[in-house]
Symmetry: C2
Subunit: 255 residues, 2 copies
């Protein structure tokens, strides 16, 4: 039986202000929670229906994760989903310090002011697919621990490290250590760019692209070409997570 | 000044039942409405703030589109968006008959039970980018005139033709006229598939992939390879709209 205060506190984690204050976030649904159990994340507690707890009792014991049995009504009250599913976990937001050694050694994504939670989650999922371990975000980028982001990662948040930092400072520090690629409408056709397994790929904001103040740090401007047709009216851009995926796909073709 | 009945009717278009009954859908925001004005779509009416109407009066007259001036409060009441923006249009859902001549002549997308409105909208936007004019959907696929889909297309719904049909019947009819590609986890690496500007690409449901009953119609099973790493835990799949984009990108590389 949950107290009103517990319910209130869990629900407050839907908002960034309270996530920051409590240094916690929520993840919902069996698949996502299972992926997080097998990860670096530290659990505060899993709130779940009896069946889920029974099925996971060994694992919870093994990982020293505490759990509280709840009924459907309580799950509905603490959940942020339209259709809550069996379990909700409260986890600690990890402290992520950037190890500067990764630059020049790995393929890294930098997100400059990505705003849409769905895009953010999909980018994390895509990075995981393409074996990218680190995503570095401007402070203005949507919070990766926003529940909509966490759900859209489909568990990939368990594996990809997310850092928030001052990008200007970062770019100044890494600009001589690694190649920095950025997506622009007038860049080199991505078909013709040589794939680079150690570079940094900068993805700009959904509406405005890469911030003006960062553009001088970009070594190579790249573009996904618009397929030519005879139609007068054509789209202006691709969705940010789609563009990220196509670029990651091209960069990861090297064998 | 809108009547209660007008407000109720416009708001009802958020639901599929009423869209079907009235054969209408809504589109919101200046950019989207401008793209639709320059398209095949027939407008019922544009509800907009004074400034928008003043700026578009010539175009509205030229295209014989009627408009009603509304204030902020009225816009809030008819809008389905969190932050309504200047104008909302009510349009007719077009009748889309499939011209069977397109098969074997164009690159076409077939969606088998895509459920997420955001994915659907992003797929329509991506198809537009890659010059794909027709998307054919199973009857179970999310309604393309769902306001969330319409918004996510960022105007591309103005250009891409969307058809809903019985896929089994369609596949039987086209299977000898065109190559049918489908995405599977065990298909041929998409890197190694020869691009085909006249084929049909089938995209399956977000959780379950291509329906069992359609699998025998697929001539070529294709896959986007998971990048190999030493980590034990890896993602199971890519987001459906991301996978669609990578495949379209590969198919459209032919010059």
């Amino acid at each position: 039986m949950l107290t009103q205060n517990q319910i209130k506190q869990i629900r407050s984690l839907q908002q960034k202000k309270f996530r920051t204050e409590l240094n916690q976030f929520v993840a919902e649904g069996p698949k996502l929670i299972e992926e997080l159990i097998d990860s670096k994340y530290t659990f505060d507690c899993v709130y779940a229906k009896k069946e889920w707890i029974d099925n996971h009792s060994e694992k919870l014991l093994d990982k020293k994760i505490s759990s509280i049995e709840i009924n459907n009504k309580e799950l509905d009250r603490i959940s942020g989903l339209v259709s809550p599913n069996s379990a909700l976990a409260v986890l600690k937001i990890p402290e992520e310090n950037i190890n500067m050694e990764i630059f020049g050694k790995e393929l890294i994504l930098v997100l400059d002011n990505i705003k849409d939670p769905g895009n953010m989650g999909t980018i994390i999922r895509t990075a995981d697919w393409f074996g990218i371990n680190h995503i570095i975000c401007s402070e203005s980028t949507v919070d990766a621990y926003n529940p909509k982001v966490v759900q859209a990662t489909m568990g990939s948040i368990a594996r990809v490290n997310i850092h928030y930092t001052d990008l200007e400072k970062l770019f100044s520090e890494i600009s001589k250590k690694t190649s920095i690629y950025g997506t622009f409408t007038d860049g080199v056709n991505i078909h013709d760019v040589e794939a680079d397994s150690k570079g940094v790929i900068v993805i700009g904001n959904e509406s405005n692209g890469i911030s003006t103040e960062f553009q001088s740090f970009i070594h190579k401007r790249i573009s996904i070409p618009l397929f030519k047709t005879n139609d007068k009216k054509r789209p202006e851009s691709l969705n940010a997570s789609v563009a990220t995926a196509i670029i990651c796909y091209e960069f990861r073709k090297i064998k």
